[in-house]
């Protein structure tokens, strides 16, 4: 414990963007929340609950992008299956919310969710037990993605599966889960997934205050995850991770068991994705197998690519920007969105390998060369 404290108080650089990011994020969160709760609806500054929920959704995506970036940008492992971890976290939350419905479902069964009654099941499957407890469900939201990531990572990294092989394997993983969750027999609601949630820990999910609270919790957790990730990545562990990205066999020859580093980083990333999923479900009100679809997982990668991989802030910015664009686009020109998304994939990989943060860094570097003396000082 003291070591933990020491670690947080140690004088390591936390990255120059961390503090401004956290401040801006929390400031926007507070202002938006206050504007929703305390301003009258006809005020020019009023923020609708719809917008709040939308923002909350974007922040979930940002957290998910963070997870992808940690593994891809920092360790060079392109996971095309992070949607699986996100969805598993979401399903854990969804199961909890489902149990919270209680006897208010269409069939009014005291314990069984509607879809089980519909399928003529007599009792809860074992994996639904305990999911009526919030704490238990939340542990599952973290544990299940973590465990899956551990098993998969342990198998894959130990046998040194890398590069495109690994990417396709992760895609196959999420594809397999997609197929599995579509099955009614799995006991997760099949095609329709879990929906019609009523309340979370006793609060009505439709109420403005609940929505705002969920949004604020998401923002807080995003800030915390951001800071912790920044800490981890600037520790020696983070340096090893970078070393693995750039020269894995060299890292092995100086004594690091790179497979273990990769496994734990993968697990960490999966856990973040799981948390993001658990936060996402109560805000959008549904979780279905579609979240497992490979295209979702690839979309996450493009958020990170647009923002700039290898920078946590880039992942967050990319996720928010791309999703904002998606919201606008699908409202105006629904057919054009896929064109735009496809073009974005091609354009970013061809011309913006470092994303928006790369442009920003270039601009900063230009400014620096304008003042040459200063730059030399900072080099020393």
């Amino acid at each position: 414990m003291t070591r933990l404290k020491e670690w947080f108080s140690s004088g390591r650089s936390t990255g120059k963007h961390t503090m401004p990011f956290v401040v801006i994020l929390l400031a926007i969160t507070f202002l938006a929340s206050a504007a929703n709760l305390y301003l009258p609806e006809d005020s020019a500054l009023y923020v609708s609950t719809y917008t709040i929920t939308l923002l909350g959704k974007y922040l979930c995506y940002a957290m998910l992008a963070l997870a992808v970036d940690i593994i891809w940008g920092y360790c060079g492992i392109l996971s095309l299956g992070h949607g699986a971890f996100f969805a598993l976290g979401g399903y854990a939350m969804g199961m909890y919310l489902m149990r919270q419905i209680g006897d208010r479902g269409v069939y009014g069964h005291p314990t069984l969710p509607d879809f089980m009654v519909f399928l003529d099941w007599q009792e809860l499957p074992w994996f639904w037990l305990g999911m009526d407890q919030f704490w238990f469900a939340m542990i599952m939201a973290v544990l299940v993605p973590g465990l899956l990531a551990f098993v998969f990572g342990w198998l894959a990294f130990r046998s040194r599966v890398t590069g495109v092989y690994l990417s396709i394997m992760t895609q196959a993983l999420t594809y397999a889960l997609l197929l599995a969750f579509f099955r009614n027999e799995m006991g997760f609601g099949g095609n329709n997934g879990l929906t019609d949630f009523k309340e979370i820990v006793g609060f009505d999910l439709q109420a403005d205050s609940t929505r705002v609270s969920l949004f604020m919790i998401t923002a807080f957790l995003l800030a915390i995850v951001f800071v912790i990730s920044q800490r981890i990545l600037s520790s020696r562990f983070g340096k090893v991770v970078l070393a693995i990205r750039d020269a894995e066999s060299r890292s092995r020859f100086i004594g690091y068991r790179t497979d273990r580093y990769k496994v734990w980083l993968f697990v960490y990333s999966a856990v973040i994705a799981g948390i993001a999923g658990a936060l996402y479900v109560p805000q959008v009100g549904i979780i279905n197998p579609g979240e497992f679809s490979p295209i979702n997982s690839i979309e996450m990668v493009i958020w990170v690519a647009v923002g700039g991989r290898g920078t946590l802030i880039g992942a967050v910015i990319g996720a928010i920007l791309v999703n904002y664009a998606k919201t606008r686009f699908t409202a105006i020109l629904p057919d054009a969105w896929l064109f735009a998304l496809g073009a974005m994939f091609v354009f970013v990989t061809l011309y913006l390998p470092k994303g928006l943060m790369g442009i920003y860094a270039q601009l900063m570097a230009k400014r620096k060369t304008a003042k040459p003396q200063k730059s030399e000082e900072s080099q020393a």
Partner: protein, 538 residues
Amino acid sequence: MRHLIALCCCLFGLLSLPAFSAESPISKELLTELVDTKLSKLQPVVAKIEATSGEDALPLFNTLLAGKLYYVRATKDVVGQYTLDGDKRYQDVFTSQDVNGLDKPSFGSKEVKKIRVNNKLRVYLRKAIAGIQLTSKSPAVREDAVHALLAKLDKNTVEIIEELYPKEANKKVKEAMGLALALNVANDKAATVSSRLKAIETLSGSLENSVRNHLTKLTNDDNASVVKAANGALEKIAQRANRFAFIDQLFFGLSLGSVLLLASIGLAITFGVMGVINMAHGEMIMLGAYTTYVVQLLMPNHIDYSIWVAIPAAFMVSGLMGVLIERLVISRLHGRPLETLLATFGISLILQQLVRTIFSPLNRQVSTPSWMSGSWEINPVLSLTLNRLYILAFALLVFIILVAILRKTSLGLNVRAVSQNRNMAKAMGVKTHRVDAMTFGLGSGIAGVAGVALSQLTNVGPNLGQAYIIDSFMVVVFGGVGNLLGTLVAAFSLGIATKFLEPTTGAVLAAIIVLVFIILFIQKRPKGLFPQKGRAAE
């Protein structure tokens, strides 16, 4: 059988137009006689018709036997009743065309009268029909007739068969007749036990459903040795049936394997040579399928030949698209396989959306040429659908051609050189970027050809290719990158494994099991079944 005829009648009724009235093959006088004669005196008239018209009378007799023969009171025309959307309508017995025309109302129930039959006449009719069919000139008709009779043998038909059996020249028909006779003996409680046992022995060689039904009945026979023999025969039949069911499953596995082979072989080339995954590979397949669709639109009257146009067209369309993608995108991302993966994924999204915009998001139906439809019935339990059979052969042909290209042509030599050691090939003066473009074109073109094949099995839609990218990659990885033979083996073993798992686990679970198996397999042997060996492989 009768249901089938009725169904066909319905279908024909739907399709045909009442434009012309066909010449009746039976003289009007005889038909009028049929209408005018009283039920008790009808049999001689039927006999007269049988004697004069032979096979031509079959539709009439069948309709009469089914109790569907009517005549129009006003004209005394003989018509057959059939049901269309719940309405009773009337059609020409011989041409199956609606007598009123489908767009006009049919006769009311007062306007027509049923020609009634009694049991005696029915027995006679059956015998007459059997006799006509069994003496038909066409062996196929004779064989079908015997098979149809197996289910409802009676004394009369047995008599006919006994009479015809020694004279029958066709081996298959004779066999079937022998079966019918044996069935009769086996069922005949008056016959000696030894002859019954011998008959059962004969029956045990048959896979006919009706034979099995009879044998099952015989297991309740009074005679213990007959019961035993029947049980033995049933077991023997079951074993044979299982063997054929196994072959059937194997065929479906091979068929899936051939589809996988077609889908993955292009990927195997591009991945093997360039080390990049083309995520738009599935869309190349889709483009090929849509090319088939467009070709059929362009030549609607020559569907049978459209395939021969579609194959080269699809190869060109997908191949050119592949070259375009390689030149514009992939060549600029050289040495960055993960970025290539993302960029080609973007391209796949664009292509899908493009097709959706041009053709609509709905599935399109591609018609199968007549020579590819239907099936090859080997025996009562085993029949292979022709389109799958052709696609299996086609996949192997494509594979052989591809291997030949890689082995015998200078392009193949260059491709092999680049895939083994790119830098060395470059140093030797191989124009690697040209080889890349050609390889990509070739791989994509084959994907297009795969699309033609797929369009014959499934509906053509914008998402057609998506499902295949993971499967094809699995095949390539399982077989070993850069090894075409490995791809062949992997495609067929995965196809067969999937089809053998499906009956026990269901399709979805089978797919999952195969995926998980490959994920685990890659852990053990990251370089696939047939890895490239040596230091160069590092």
